[in-house]
Subunit: 259 residues, 2 copies
Amino acid sequence: MWNSLLGFKESEGTMDTTVAKGMAVLEALARAKRPMRLAALTEQLGLQKSNVHRLLNTFMELGYVQQDPETSRYFASLKTWELGAGIISTNSLRRSVAPHLQAMQEKTRETVMLTVPVDDEVLFLDRAAQVRALRYVPLNGTRAPMVFTAAGRAILSRRPDPRDAVARSIAACPPEAGFVLSQVLEDLEKARRDGYASLVGGFTPWARVVAVALPGPGGAPAAAIAISGPEERMAGDHLAEVLDVLLATAAEIGEVSPA
Amino acid sequence: MWNSLLGFKESEGTMDTTVAKGMAVLEALARAKRPMRLAALTEQLGLQKSNVHRLLNTFMELGYVQQDPETSRYFASLKTWELGAGIISTNSLRRSVAPHLQAMQEKTRETVMLTVPVDDEVLFLDRAAQVRALRYVPLNGTRAPMVFTAAGRAILSRRPDPRDAVARSIAACPPEAGFVLSQVLEDLEKARRDGYASLVGGFTPWARVVAVALPGPGGAPAAAIAISGPEERMAGDHLAEVLDVLLATAAEIGEVSPA
DNA sequence: TGAGGCCGTTTCACTATGTGGAACAGCCTG
DNA sequence: CAGGCTGTTCCACATAGTGAAACGGCCTCA
């Protein structure tokens, strides 16, 4: 059964398996940093060679996939990017927070980010940074385990009973991070009291990141804004100032519409 | 026949129609600025109501589509955005040109853009701008007819026989633009001689945009960089300086890998 | 209040459609 | 030249998707 290999829950409702397989192929190509061979795709997805081949041909006719004529490797085309580009540009959360991000960046001169919780992860939606610092922060569209980021912790700290989510999230972190449940829960408790989360040695190990959650319509945390900088700089008066800006901005933004 | 409605050429090769229909649905949702009703989708795509419903359910189970519980309208989720986000971040053309874009922006203080030709259109790939000016330029991921933009004209002017493409492209422009074939061909000839294209009253009507094509591996134009500013400012000494920066940067970049 | 649309959803018999095994062809490596 | 990789093509089979029609909830208007 191929869907077990893809990690699907025994599909409950009725669903077009052809489309599901197709999206699995497209997703695999989009995630891969370089063009992929047919064999690699079939193995990774646990599908039939001819099946994947047919799907790839379909996507090529539609323009979503291209094939390197020399190596005959497949890769997702820019049309696949276009598909999503329209979505983020009209995303109401991003649009409403973007100016605040920019203002925070100008005031603090640090890198600032907007994230939303998805499953047990945070998704990086937008950022503002000095050009030279851009390469040091996660790219938009990437994900990280919640407890691995300050933003995720800010969100978790505002949830009534985060224990299970925290446990699952810790399991998703690299073991080297050395997170243990009791310690993380204590950290969250502190974050809840302080009104912000602070983390060193997370997803961006070189940085200290401070973050605060933004409440959604129901009051539950629906997003988080974060400020990130080199550990040695994020201390003392500067850190205090950064926190002031962070908390003031969160208050100013108030309640946000969910992603 | 539904594919005629979607504008497909009598599909030559064999292809998974289910996937094609699915992508048509997802594309329609991604393009729409607001959640769509099932009825609107079925009408727009010329498909069966139950067919679209089934496809939407599939996408919902996969996480690419969500349904507003109140209005029962459908919209593409952030997961659809994630799909493409990975592609653009690893795109070699964008990565290699991005620092040059930034440098051009800092030197000229105007808005600069990177575009690539796709079919008879240009696709906006990346940009650099002062924050306050961002809303005045096309969003990344949008398309425009080639002759409707300076970037597209710069590319066309480097092609051996652009006549047919120009004619098709003019037909795709709004009639109010008032482009006529002979005049546009003359403009292109001038652009070819000058080494850059200049346009007022195009896709961004309020601006004068100057652009130059970047050659690909075979020498054929594979991309274009453009600088855009208010018409009154893009004149005299400043315009001369902008053109200097533009042409110098193009020379510096040299040959690019195709998108 | 109730008739009449319009909506999203569900059902089901039919067969067109995607499936996957096997055979093919091209390219390297040993 | 043999052997093991590729990506590609073929085709009989039955599964998986299709579409017409029926359902039921929510409106509006008489």
